[in-house]
Every structure is written in structure tokens, then in C-alpha cells.
Amino acid sequence: MTEFEPTIVAFFCNWCTYTASDLAGTSRLSYPPNIKIIRMMCTGMVDPKYVIKALLEGADAVLISGCHPGDCHYINGNYKARRRVKLLKEMLKRFGLEEERLRLTWIGASDGLQLAETINTMVDQVKKLGPSEIKSTMVI
């Protein structure tokens, strides 16, 4: 049997984490292809709907990543994202969503190495968890 390959939808902020993923690439650091990156201008514009939709459509996990506190290109977008993730985690865990399936991290533009490590760890964690039950049970 082939190993379970999770799909992780990632919302990366243009200024920090997306730049870090570029850096990881130019530094020839590898990370697993399970991650599907969506470039956002800021984590502050990740509407909770995007996360809910990704999970309902069968994503095994969602990763939101942006600038460290104090570094936001738009001053406070990441603070808003943090509160939204707090709300989403609180809400979705009522319906059995595991901690590992929704992650928020801060990865700066120069942290290509940290980005590769984060994705590697996250993919491992989700593999251990197994496929999202939503994929098999949902009829939309």
C-alpha cells in the first residue's frame, strides 16, 4: 500500500513567509510537495472562510504563516490573523478538528531553513494523524 500523502493548503504572506519559501528554493533546501502554497499579501487577509472552505474541500491541514509580531508590512495584519486563528481553532475543535490540522507560524523572509523544517515537521505530523475524515464523509 502506498503511504498516505497529505494535502496541506498554505496561506503565506508575500513579505515574509513567501519570501522565505523563495529563499529556501534558491538555497536548494527541499521540502515535501504536499504543501500547496497560496500567496496572500498579508496573513491579515486570510478570511476564516478560506480556512473553512479548504478543510471542507478535503485539505488534510491548513498552514497560515506570516511575519513575526512587529514585522508586519501592514503594521498589524498578523495580530488580526492570530485572533482569527484562535477563534477558528476554538470553533473547529468542537467538531473534532485536531490541533495539527490548523497551524499558524511566523517565518521571517530570511528564515528559509526554518520554513523547510516547519513544512517537514508539519507533513510528518499530519501523516501520523492520517487523512482528514472530512474527505471521506462530506457530501459538501
Binding site: 471542507l56 492570530r82 477563534l87 470553533m91 467538531f95 490541533e99 464523509t137 459538501i140
Partner: protein, 383 residues
């Protein structure tokens, strides 16, 4: 601190006494109009009505067990722009709390208003109220059933699910609170003025002063703890019934995406909901794509998506009024679901919807150091 006065009740008829009290306020010219539940002349239906003529208050009945809509929405309409006239808003506890949330969302104002809250005796859902109205039972009799017999079953009808688990029977944040619990309501009502606005109004009426009795405080305390126990049981049952997405999907299975719950919700205030915009006006090709992906797609689509999104939007502002369930054509117990989730999300932000007008809405503010537990990838599920 609150000041307390007494309102005499004649012939054990609290409804007429309340009407008399409202009339005195309207006659005093300190109030230009009342928004109050009112018996419509053409059918046995009670609707929030804006009244400027004293005579019309004869049909005002804020204690009727009817709750066709959350009047916070009307209050928002009446106060969004200054009218230069004072309106007394007679509302239930949950309506006042929803109105406070709407004010925080800049959808209304307390300027030129007097909030009058009455100890809430609960209400039936629309269907049960229609049956109740046919029985021609008076509101006074209903009050006796609740206050004297402490019964929740009135003529074979039960109060709405939201009312049975409501832990706010006494309204907060009103300028005048009319007390019914724990007093001899058949001979006098308690008028509490927690704000300067309320105090000034009551002072002008020269009513006899009194104080809040220990028996009233005790009655309220025991009622609240009784309701909290019922509420916690409801939370437990609902959590169990929706403990994973598949169960949640089953819980919402009869939803036909009519969005009545969203229309009825007092704190769902967007003029245009994203779910009726082009974003969800999918092409037929898209539906076929979805169908092909798994061999079938339930129509209408996006049902769970809608409810989860609504939850993300309003759970921090949910006051548990129960209008979502009341509006559902397919009897989905939405109140139970939304109250359960809201209880946890509000707790997570140490926030209580409608409690304090000074307290900012959690998603409208932020700090640089907070909620660090949600950041990072090291936290594991506890299973």
C-alpha cells in the same frame, strides 16, 4: 448604584399596570415614542410597534409569550441616525444584549433612547405561540403560570428551547428594569433604575421608594442556577451530537440554504451576506465538476460551509435569543448548536456578548503579546 421604586398593581393585572406606567411616561413628554410589543388589531399576533399616541398603549403587551423577532434589529434601525427625539425601547433581556452588540458594531446608538427591560418570563416559538393564541389564555394567566406555579408547561405548550436555558432572566444594561421575580407581583412591581437616565425619569413620577428584597435576590439566584444546570446539560448533548464533521453534517442535513436563520439573527448585520453574492453563484460547470469529483454532490451546496462561516462571524456576538431556531423551516436546533459553540469561543476570549458596552468585540482589537499558544507547530492533539 441602583435606586428602586414601587409600581402599584391594581386587580392583580400586571399588563394593565405596565401599560399605565408606559402611558405616564409618554404623557410626561420626556419620551416621544415607545417601541413595545403590541397586539395587532387584525390578528392575534404581537409585533414590535412604535407608538406615539398614548391611547394606542392599551394594546401594548411586553409580557405576551410571543417572540416573532429580535427587536434589537428594529432598535438599530430607530437609532442608527439621530432623530432628535427620545424613544423608549421596551425589550427582552436578549434583545437588549443583542442591541448592545449592534451598538458596538456601530449599528445603533444609546443616544436619545431609554432602555426598558422587564424580567423575562420567556416565550414560545412562533408555532407554539399561534396555538397558544388560539386558546385565548390571557397574558396575566401566563405570568401566573410562570411566576406562581413555576411551570414551564403552559396549557400543554413548552417555552422555546432558548428560553428554557436562558441564564439572563433579569435584563442587564437597561435604564429601567421592571422586576417580577421574587416579589408579590400581584400587588406591586419593582422599578429599578441602574442608570442616571432611568433615575431621572422615575424621580419625576414621584413613585414610592423601596429596596430590592433578599427574597428577590434569592429567587433570581436560584432561577439562574437552575437554568445554568439545564444549559450545561444542553451543551453536553449538543457537543455529543456534533462531535465530528460527519455528525455536524447530519445535524444540519435538512438545511435547504434558505438563510432564514441569518435573516432572523439580530447580530448578523451585514447588508449583503457573502452567501448571496456572486461568490456563491456558481456556474453549472462547477457543480458538475464537484459531482464528478466524488460521484455526487448534495444540492444546494455549501450548507455546512454557510453555517460554519456564520459561526465564525457571529459566535462571539451570539446572545442566545433563539431566533435562528424560530426561523428555521425545517426545525434544525440551531440555537443549541450556536449557543454551545459561542459559549466556548466567548470563553476563549474572556468575552460575554451583550454584557458590557465598554468591552471591545474580540476581533476588533489586538495586542502584540497574546494568544501565543496558537502560534507554532509543536502543540499536539491531546487524544
Amino acid at each position: 448604584m441602583s435606586t428602586f421604586s414601587k409600581l402599584e398593581v391594581k386587580d392583580k393585572d400586571i399588563v394593565t399596570s405596565l401599560q399605565g406606567f408606559f402611558k405616564t411616561l409618554l404623557e410626561s413628554k420626556k419620551i416621544d415614542a415607545f417601541m413595545v410589543p403590541w397586539h395587532l388589531p387584525m390578528k392575534e399576533v404581537v409585533m414590535p410597534t412604535l407608538i406615539s399616541d398614548v391611547e394606542q398603549l392599551d394594546k401594548a403587551d411586553p409580557l405576551a409569550p410571543s417572540f416573532p423577532m429580535n427587536a434589537a434589529k428594529i432598535a438599530s434601525r430607530l437609532t442608527k441616525k439621530p432623530a432628535g427625539q427620545t424613544i423608549a425601547l421596551v425589550m427582552r433581556s436578549c434583545e437588549i444584549r443583542a442591541f448592545i452588540e449592534l451598538i458596538k458594531l456601530k449599528q445603533g446608538s444609546l443616544d436619545n433612547t431609554v432602555l426598558i427591560g422587564i424580567d423575562c418570563l420567556g416565550a414560545f416559538d412562533n408555532r407554539d405561540y399561534a396555538s397558544f393564541a388560539k386558546k385565548e389564555v390571557s397574558t396575566v394567566r401566563f405570568c401566573d403560570k410562570i411566576l406562581k406555579d413555576k411551570s414551564e408547561n403552559i396549557e400543554g405548550l413548552n417555552l422555546a428551547a432558548a428560553c428554557k436555558v436562558c441564564e439572563h432572566p433579569v435584563p442587564d444594561n437597561a435604564d429601567i428594569i421592571i422586576g417580577l421575580y421574587g416579589i408579590d407581583y400581584q400587588s406591586e412591581l419593582l422599578l429599578e433604575a441602574p442608570t442616571v437616565k432611568g433615575e431621572e425619569l422615575l424621580q419625576a413620577l414621584n413613585l414610592p421608594k423601596t429596596s430590592e428584597s433578599a427574597s428577590r435576590q434569592q429567587a433570581i439566584k436560584s432561577l439562574i442556577s437552575d437554568r445554568e444546570a439545564k444549559r450545561d446539560k444542553m451543551f453536553e448533548e449538543t457537543s455529543l451530537a456534533t462531535s465530528n464533521i460527519e455528525k455536524l453534517s447530519g445535524y444540519l442535513a435538512s438545511c435547504v440554504n434558505c438563510y432564514n436563520c441569518r435573516v432572523a439573527c439580530p447580530v448578523c448585520y451585514c447588508r449583503e451576506c457573502v452567501f448571496v453574492t456572486d461568490v456563491f453563484d456558481h456556474d453549472s460547470f462547477q457543480y458538475l465538476q464537484w459531482a464528478k469529483k466524488k460521484g455526487r454532490v448534495k444540492m444546494p451546496t455549501d450548507t455546512d460551509f454557510f453555517h460554519l462561516t456564520r459561526m465564525a462571524h457571529i459566535s462571539l456576538a451570539c446572545v442566545g435569543c433563539g431566533q435562528c431556531s424560530n426561523a428555521c423551516p425545517n426545525d434544525i436546533p440551531l440555537t443549541e448548536l450556536f449557543r454551545t459553540v459561542s459559549h466556548h469561543t466567548q470563553k476563549a476570549f474572556e468575552y460575554e456578548a451583550g454584557k458590557n458596552i465598554e468591552e471591545p468585540i474580540p476581533l476588533s482589537v489586538f495586542n502584540d503579546k497574546e494568544y501565543e499558544e496558537v502560534v507554532g507547530i509543536n502543540k499536539q492533539s491531546t487524544e
